[in-house]
Symmetry: C2
Subunit: 162 residues, 2 copies
């Protein structure tokens, strides 16, 4: 559980987490990517309490991740579809799933399979690459503080007199 | 806040979230990737309550994401370093940060910059690609239920008689 809002933090990771809302929200986004549009479908698949689901859906709409649209079949209920910024979370969702497939897989196997649609082959691991597509080792990826943030260790303080 | 454990869920995304623990855990992992090793450095950078940090660090050690090692400088305190499975969360952390940079950036700019170390150029967006490195559009990525899970909508029920 969050004990304070991350929205004032400068870090884009913290800001994303604040914006997305909760673990449940990530699973709702996953289900929307899998084709769920209706309250009852999210509810059935997640086994989530209705008031919790209502709250999370409202937050995701307020955050611009989902939007409400009229039902495709003309019925009175509304449906939920991902916005552009919601769809743009696909790398996060897929990366979480690929890590879980590798390290904490369920004994029955994963419940979803992500593929290159054309070939049906499993999607290669989402991983840092150069612009030309060449894979990078993690020690070829640099992470540094910027815009007045950090440093957080004495070593970094000594190296960076600012 | 989670209202039930995700550990029984078959979905690798849910299992990952259960294993990682909380939003705070992801920020602790981020700081470890940035070079933080000591309790006081995590505490200072995150502005997190000490008992919360203790709890999150214990969970991350129990989950095999972090491990405790003797202090590098020979002092009595222990330090925390990422395990192989912890380092393997890099795509998740970087993808969260890149989404935040794009959609919910702080007015002062992002607090961390991720680069291709050799060139110093910003790391290209982590994104689904073919094995040869070619970028995929999201509609070229397939997601389907497997191993007895789903479907969650009537349309999918009709398409899949299982």
């Amino acid at each position: 559980m969050k004990t304070k809002s991350f929205s004032d933090m400068q870090c884009s990771i913290a800001r994303t987490l604040d914006h997305v809302g909760s673990w449940w929200s990530l699973l709702i986004i996953r289900d929307a990517m899998m084709g769920a549009r209706r309250f009852k479908h999210f509810q059935r698949n997640l086994g989530i309490a209705k008031n919790t689901l209502t709250s999370r859906l409202n937050d995701l709409v307020a955050g611009g991740i989902l939007e409400r649209v009229p039902a495709a079949d003309g019925y009175a209920h509304e449906e939920y579809v991902l916005t552009e910024r919601g769809r743009d979370l696909a790398p996060v969702i897929i990366a979480l799933g690929q890590w879980g497939d590798k390290w904490v897989a369920h004994e029955k196997g994963p419940s979803t399979v992500v593929t290159v649609r054309e070939s049906g082959e499993p999607l290669p691991r989402i991983w840092p690459r150069r612009a030309d597509g060449e894979l990078l080792a993690l020690n070829e990826v640099g992470m540094r503080w910027a815009n007045g943030a950090g440093p957080i260790t004495e070593t970094q303080e000594k190296e960076d007199p600012s």
